[in-house]
Symmetry: C2
């Protein structure tokens, strides 16, 4: 299976690593909007092309994994490239999924390709777990907690404050809320009760730290509804202690069964990730295998993780899976 | 969707409860090998028929859920009833799955029905989580822990000892082993290091408790390879404290990504169940929906949880799922 990568940022580099872990995949090409000569790949011998020339290489690629951002890149890129390629993306603007799905589905059907959108862990593996758990326990309630992990959007919001040189924001689930959910207490949780926000900030020399802290904790949408802590640290500390991009979280559903609902059950799915982009890339690579196979079976159009039978993710045969994993 | 139940034990009664929680399902009939007049259902107006007359009622049932035991019932029942019905079973003898699959597949294909075997939580949801996690993190290792929960087989083994009136055995994961796995230490764990066995025993009056305890802890296969504790209790205590059938467990995969495998990830799926049979029944009911739909699409033969796209489990449309659960 010949994999193409469009966009060589954190996610694209993660795909490159994931391809190396899957024996049935090879990295066939990387496409970039930058100057192709400026990219240094980890994998020797792989060509780098300009994104604008991608269509000329469509016969060299079985599945193109599109590693753009959800805000402006993917809404344009995924339908565009679905005209020439089987594609997978990690579109994660939950509210805009129906519109994105419709655009990609139309393009993929017209060209006879198979496309998948919103692959990763949320949307992605967390969505799958919400679906499975809600189908098994129809009388129940589910909760999603994120973290402990770096939120890029919140880190960026802090960096835009005057006097801030750099910043890193961690989203942290509130332990007491998690415990209450696990205990089946079905709590009603406010935004503040579910997550806290920890900020590590490098201030410019002579900046007014009290003002920066005040601007952070009162920032609407981003921080005002949360208990937020602000720690001023040095550039060195930031580089040493906060260089990684960890993330993770929990999907928990509690529900009841029995004549009178007397028996309670807890289904919990947890991720603890050292690298958010590399894990997301690993999910994308597994689903690229499914896309390739589905296209081979003539199954075209746009799919999500809900539409893919799990066996399609595995390089093993049905016989092997039944004998060893079931 | 008209559901039939074959076998009205703990699992069959669990199906009856699960059907009530799913608005698109009705319980159409219960089939039993006992005298039909001897069964008292919870649901008014549902007919009880003799299992031997099931074929006469095939047009009244969309999916028949077969609630027999894996040792001797299901290997005969599931292929037999797949001749006349779409069927689902919870066959859980892992080593015999390939042979059972072949028998059921042949019967279902010949009759144009859709069948699913080995549905529940292990095999079932645990298998799914082993599959997803191993496809996402190909360089990794997974561990399954069971419990804390009642093992029927081990409880029965104790009851067969002379002088034992009743007994309940709990399988308990070793907390230190769980923590080591979660920490990504990839431990090599012996049987003894993974689980302990807690036994609650009601002895006959005047029985030699020291001998009973010795027979339990030295019993080959069942207890000799474990750290086993034996607690003698009264019949009253057993009824009061150990009446339930709780179970659960953990599937954990740890793996690494990155240029040098420098980033580690933990995927953990956990179940904590008040009632093992009722939860299993809830999984069976959700997959009965999938079987019904697949048959409507002309997809016949034997399937497992690996073959079913998650969306088939849900009463919601693709549009609804994408808009609200993805």
């Amino acid at each position: 299976m010949r994999i193409g990568i469009l966009g060589y940022g954190n996610l694209g580099r993660g795909i490159e690593c994931a391809v190396r872990q899957n024996e049935d995949m090879t990295l066939a090409a990387v496409f970039t909007r930058r100057d192709p000569a400026s990219l240094k790949l980890q994998t020797p011998g792989v060509p780098v092309y300009s994104a604008s020339e991608a269509a000329a290489h469509k016969d060299e690629i079985d599945v193109l994994i599109i590693c753009g951002g959800s805000a402006t890149d993917l809404p344009e890129q995924t339908p565009l490239y679905a005209a020439d390629f089987n594609v997978v993306d990690s579109f994660d603007t939950h509210a805009a999924i129906p519109a994105h799905f419709a655009n990609v589905d139309k393009a993929a059907r017209e060209s006879g390709h198979t496309a998948m959108i919103s692959v990763g862990w949320d949307p992605g593996m967390f969505s799958l777990n919400r679906l499975y758990a809600s189908c098994i326990l129809p009388e129940g309630r589910d909760y999603t907690f994120w973290g402990r992990g770096v939120s890029q959007g919140h880190s960026d919001a802090i960096r835009r404050i005057e006097g801030v040189r750099d910043a890193r924001q961690y989203t942290v689930p509130v332990e007491a809320a998690l415990e209450s959910v696990r205990a089946g207490e079905n709590p009603e949780l406010t935004t503040r009760q579910k997550h806290i926000r920890e900020c590590y900030v490098v201030a410019e020399e002579g900046a007014d730290k009290a003002r920066i802290e005040h601007e952070i904790v009162t920032m609407p949408n981003y921080f005002a509804d949360y208990d937020t802590t602000v720690h001023f640290i040095t550039e060195d500390e930031l580089q040493r202690e906060h260089k990684g991009i960890p993330h993770g979280g929990f999907v928990i559903r509690t529900g009841c069964t029995g004549r009178e609902g007397e028996n309670r059950h807890v289904i919990e799915y947890r991720l603890k990730l050292d690298s958010n982009p590399e894990f997301t890339a690993s999910v994308l690579a597994a689903y690229a295998r499914a896309v390739y196979r589905l296209n081979g079976e003539g199954c075209v159009g746009c799919k999500t993780v809900f539409d893919i039978a799990p066996a399609y993710l595995s390089p093993k045969s049905g016989e092997e899976l039944r004998a060893h994993l079931l």
